[in-house]
Point group: C2
Chain length 147, copies 2
Amino acid sequence: MSFMVSTKGRYALRVMIDLAQHIEELQPLKIIAERQNISLKYMETIMPCLKEAGFVDGTHGKGGGYRLTRPPQDYTVGEILRITEGSLAPVACLDNGYVCERADTCPTLPVWKKLDSIITDYLDTVKLTDMIPKNMVQFDDTCYSQL
Amino acid sequence: MSFMVSTKGRYALRVMIDLAQHIEELQPLKIIAERQNISLKYMETIMPCLKEAGFVDGTHGKGGGYRLTRPPQDYTVGEILRITEGSLAPVACLDNGYVCERADTCPTLPVWKKLDSIITDYLDTVKLTDMIPKNMVQFDDTCYSQL
DNA sequence: GTATTTACCTACCAAGTAAGTAGGTAGGTA
DNA sequence: TACCTACCTACTTACTTGGTAGGTAAATAC
């Protein structure tokens, strides 16, 4: 029982949503952490990841903070999670650089590949703006929707 | 980067496929382990899981071994992985018994729920017999197929 | 120029999990 | 009786998760 997406990816996603909801001004991490009820110190270790990827930029000093570098609708959940988690591969067999001598004959490999493509295809269709409350209606009815 | 399916689930699946390919007689774990190139000792720690679930039964003594308890087409990849991995939930938020006070308003929860249902729906459609080489053609063309 | 605010950096830690290994016991068959 | 096979308990090594602690560097306000 190990989860595909850890707190790192989940917190990162919540920070990105938070920034998308405050698009106009710079948001200090302290404020975001309080609003999201996440440890400031822990968030500080996650933010460099989003910054290196060019998803956000941060300015120092008084009045500083973080902000998105692109319009919110230009981010997908898939790319945010792929950066923060390192990989979204469901099994080691599909991980970047992994070589398996059974690959040519393994009967399970096609299943993992299909599973991987299903996961990727879905996560790459969900945009950051799809998770802003006013848009939540678009999710199917098995899911919570905030009206 | 933590994988949804560990070696435990992957090995279990390969053992189940192996048993499906030798449906008529009892297969000693030693033989299966050699054929699959998996540590016998490690497999011994995984088999009780499959036995408790009623997927296989094992008989002691000379000529003993393991065998499937049902016809191979009656097993799905989903149920085998769910038993061995404990859960296939992509995030802790969806794990059995987990309570999150943010659940009612969390904008990311619908995404995790949808992702979970996509994964489950796919894995529950793949049957054990779908992975026996002669049937592998049924996978789509982005995947390896053994003709 | 000083104080303050903020990002940013380095190191550490406790608990848990993954992926086995080692060495036996119990049950059944030839 | 000898052999084979499942089954059980304990241990190990390495790694990951989810943080905490304590600072430094940069920028701004006053």
